[in-house]
Every structure is written in C-alpha cells, then in structure tokens.
C-alpha cells in the first residue's frame, strides 16, 4: 500500500510575478507539513515494471543499448551518442555552476568569473570551453550578458538553504534496466531534504535558463522516476526554476505522476535517437 496522494497537484507561478526569498522557499516546499509514507516494495515494483516493459519493447533485438535522459524523454526520443555543443548549453552549464556555488557560499561579486574558474579546473569541460573560445566576440558578449542576468536573478531571488536540510548539488543518477539494454540517466541540480527510507522527504530542483514549457515539467517527472528507481523512495516534490523569468513549476510526486513519467519513458525507448537538450 502506497500512501501517496493519487491526485497530482501542479502550481504554476505567473512569470510576471517571480517569487523570491521565503516565498520561493514556501513554493518549493508546498503547503503540506507531513511527508507521505512509502511502502518499502513500491520502488522495487516501479523498477521491476520499467525493466520488464523495456524487455517486452526491445524483444530479442540485439541493438545497441539505449540511453534515455530527461531532455530526450520529454521530447519523445532517446539519446544519440553524438553530442552537440551550443551557446545554450554553455549558458546552462555556467548558470548551473553559478547556482551550485551560490547554494554553498551565497551570491558572489563576480559569479561569471567564479564559474569560469571552476569549469577550467574540470578536465571534462575542456571541449565546452574550447568551443566558447571559437565564438565571435559579439556572441561571447551576448552570452556573458545572459549568464550575468541569470546570476543576478539567482542572487536576488533564490533563498539561502539551511545546511541542516542537506542541500546537495549536481547529483548523478543512472539506472540500468533489462540487463543494461536501457539506461536512464540524469543529473539533479539540487536535492534538498533528509533522505528517509519510509517516507518521501526529498525535493528535487532543476535549473533552466529558458522560459518554462511543458517539456520541463516532463523532464522533472522523468528525474522523479529515476530517483524512485535509484533510491528506493520517491521524492516528495519536484520543481523546475527558470532563471530568465523566475517561473517555478513545483508539484508533489504521486503515483499518477510516476505512472505518466513511466509511460513517457517507455515511449522513448523505441523512438529515434536525438541529441540532448540543455
């Protein structure tokens, strides 16, 4: 028996009234003070059903393993092996890094340079920084302005988080299904809340630089599904925040939400491959 509320609740904040500080924190938490109990076998069943149905979809095919991430699942395809560098990706990576730094140390006087220093120290980011150097000066200037704007909005609006809530950033998730023929993967920009084995207690937050769209809601739901399969407990809330508009989509994680995410994920297993979207 899973004691999750079967009714999905979506709260959308109008983009012309961006939330800030305590109001944003309240919207992330939702109005419920109690955390729903979770039956121990629930996540195992979710994982088992996902895996079994992936197996049915792929049959005896010996095709290469399929990788699914949030950006491709929400858009109805699975992940291509090739990746594409883009201005949007650079902006997203810089803004995510600025967000991580702000969560742990508060707003910075020069967030763009701080993020650059962090990315330069990470060998895996070399291709991205090399691509950045190939951009025309005007494009680089526009990009810097956009990232600075994201950083300013984050500094003005994003609340500081109590360390006792165990905020962790850049959390990697990877779940193999059907003996490794399907891999679900993702990175959560921010997880807040003390993990608990018997109740849903964690809020997962994704940071976006674009205005929010239904794709982003589906991306967050996909991450909730992966986290459920990975940790054995569904998150309590999933949220997506746009640094451009200040919009926040936040919703409780319910069985219905996870079911919808599962169906969308399965649909992407046999869909064509596509490149990831930041």
């Amino acid at each position: 028996m899973v004691l999750l509320d079967p009714t999905p609740t979506t709260e959308t904040c109008a983009p012309w009234q961006p939330l800030a500080g305590a109001a944003l924190l309240d919207a992330l938490r939702g109005g419920r003070s109690s955390r729903p109990s979770v039956e121990g076998a629930f996540a195992l069943r979710v994982r088992g059903e996902l895996s079994d149905r992936c197996g049915e979809l792929l049959g005896t095919s010996d095709a290469a393993p399929v990788t699914l991430d949030r950006g491709t699942v929400a858009r109805g395809y699975h992940l291509s092996e090739r990746s594409e560098l883009s201005v949007e990706l650079i902006r997203h990576v810089f803004t995510s890094t600025i967000f991580q730094l702000q969560v742990h140390a508060g707003p910075s006087a020069d967030p763009v340079e701080d993020a650059k220093a962090v990315l330069e120290a990470d060998p895996s980011r070399r291709p991205l920084l090399e691509y950045l150097r190939t951009l025309a000066p005007a494009a680089r200037r526009d990009l810097r302005d956009a990232i600075s704007s994201d950083a300013r909005h984050l500094a003005e609006r994003w609340p500081s988080l109590n360390p006792m809530w165990l905020p962790r950033t850049g959390v990697s998730m990877a779940v193999d299904l059907d003996g490794g023929r399907v891999r679900l993967r993702g990175t959560c920009d921010l997880m807040v809340g003390i993990p608990n084995r018997s109740s849903a207690s964690v809020c997962m937050v994704s940071i976006k630089t674009a205005p929010l769209s239904p794709f982003h809601r589906d991306e967050a739901r996909f991450l909730a599904l992966v986290e459920t399969a990975r940790s054995g407990v569904p998150p309590f809330r999933v949220a997506t925040y746009s640094t451009t508009t200040g919009e926040l989509h936040a919703e409780y994680v319910t069985e219905a939400l996870l079911k919808a995410a599962m169906e969308q994920t399965l649909a992407a297993v046999t869909a064509p491959a596509g490149v990831p979207t930041p």
């Binding site: 742990h104 006792m164 850049g170 990975r230 940790s231």
Partner: protein, 276 residues
C-alpha cells in the same frame, strides 16, 4: 564464486551479516604471489595496480596528477563523514567546511608537502574551494544517509589508509582501498568492506572488488581475508556483493596477471623507432 545485487537499503544488513572468513596459509600466499609473478616484470619500476588502473588502464597513470574538486571529493568527503559519525559536526556541509579549513591551516603552517590536497586547497581560488566543499558534501551526504550507523555496535573505519603490497618479482605495487570497513565481532579480525564505485554495476566490478580483497589479504600480517566486499554504486542505488573465498582471490590474481601481461606485451610490440 557468486555475486549478488542488492539495493542501497540493504547495505547495512549486508555489511553486518555474520560470515566466515578465510585465512591464507603460507602455501596459499606463495601460490597467489606465484600467479602475479607470471606477469613478466621488465625492470626495477613498479607498476601500480589498483581500482583506477584496472578500470582506466595502466597508461592512465602517465598523465600528471593534479587536484580538482571532483578528485578531492572522496578524501574530503570521507574525512567529513568521520566527523559526522563521531558527532563532531551537525551536517555534511559544516563537516566539509571544517575539514577544508583544517587542511588549509596545516598547509599554511608548512605541515603539508607540495602537491598535497591541503597545499592545493590553500592556493586554490575561493570558488574552487567552494566547489570542493559542494562535491565533498554531496558525496558525504550520500554515504551518510545510505548506512544505518546506529545499527553498528562498533563504529567502522571510514577512509582508512590504503592497503599496500610491494611485490618485486612481478614488478607490481598493489594498492587496495575501502571507503568503509566494518569490523566483525569474532576474534579473528574479519571485516566487511564497502567500496564506493562510479556509474552502474558492471561485470568489471568483480575484478575491482577481487583485486581489493586480494591486496587487503596479502597486506594483512596474518593473511586474514575480508569476509565480503561490497561495491556500492550510489548513482544507481545498487551494490554488488562478493563474499571472499580462495577462489575469489585466485581469480583476482589471475585477472591482474592477464591485464598486466596484456599491457606489458603491448608495450613490447611498440617499435622503438619508426623506419623511414
């Protein structure tokens, strides 16, 4: 030799389960070292064999090492976890900040050698240090919340020194690590070892865990083997469990021999000069 897969929620019970453990006789030890000696040492240099080189390849060590937040997260995160488990910090962020501050203090007082983690942190710009705390606190939080510490009668060893075995006849330096060592209640000093691994469970985990078990056993003065090796993949929420017996150790030695022999053979095939 059987491995099983478990979920994160089963980690503590698996580590605490009563198991028998083996002890190497002198003959067993010589047998295992004999297998390693078949790797064809070619000179006085020792080849490092550990979890990293077994998965990334022996050439990976030729790249000069330099710290970054991702590489520092294990050392900092485990030090922070120790303070958390001993009740000296209230949360992982506070624990990591204290660990970083202490490392910087040691480095600035001249107590750290050049190239050490402390020296790197002391000279790193503030955002890099912040990211090091961010990465380490996420790592510590995952491990802290994965285990039921109150269920352990005795606090485990967290991030102890690596096991080290120098074996000149094979030209090998075996290094073995364990993030958490749970000590058994028997008098023989058996232990259950938890290794934190990246990504999702893979067939290669068997060699990673077996090699760490072999190194721990050969490094132990009494030849006592760990009773079980648990390779936990936090990103996947799963762990691979490998109970250790003589077969596991022999297969680990054979696996190392095969990897090293193949690599050394490939070096021998590379022409020293290219003909015009």
């Amino acid at each position: 030799m059987t491995t099983t897969r478990i979920h994160t929620a089963q980690l503590t019970a698996t580590l605490l389960a009563e198991r028998t453990s083996i002890t190497l006789s002198a003959g067993d030890r010589q047998g295992l070292l004999g297998v390693l000696a078949q790797t064809g040492a070619t000179g006085p240099d020792l080849l490092r064999v550990d979890g990293f080189t077994l998965s990334a390849g022996f050439d990976a060590t030729t790249t000069p090492f330099s710290w970054n937040p991702r590489l520092a997260k294990r050392t900092l995160g485990l030090a922070a976890l120790r303070t958390l488990v001993h009740g000296a910090a209230k949360n992982p962020i506070e624990a990591c900040e204290a660990v970083v501050a202490e490392a910087i203090t040691r480095a600035t007082s001249g107590a750290e050698r050049s190239g050490s983690l402390g020296s790197w942190l002391a000279s790193a710009p503030k955002p890099i240090r912040t990211m090091a705390v961010a990465s380490a606190s996420s790592y510590a939080t995952e491990l802290w919340s994965a285990l039921e510490w109150s269920a352990m009668a005795e606090l485990p060893t967290i991030g102890g020194s690596d096991d080290t075995v120098v074996h000149r006849p094979s030209g090998l330096l075996l290094k073995g690590r364990a993030e958490v060592i749970v000590h058994g209640s028997d008098e023989r000093g058996s232990s259950a070892r938890l290794l934190v691994l990246g990504g999702t469970p893979r067939p290669e985990d068997l060699l990673t865990l077996g090699a760490a078990a072999l190194t721990a056993t050969l490094a132990d003065r009494d030849g006592q083997a760990p009773s079980v090796m648990v390779g936990w993949h936090p990103a996947a929420g799963q762990a691979v469990v490998l109970p250790v017996d003589h077969i596991v150790l022999r297969r680990a030695a054979a696996g190392i021999r095969q990897r090293v022999t193949t690599w050394r053979s490939s070096l021998a095939e590379v022409p020293a000069t290219v003909a015009a």
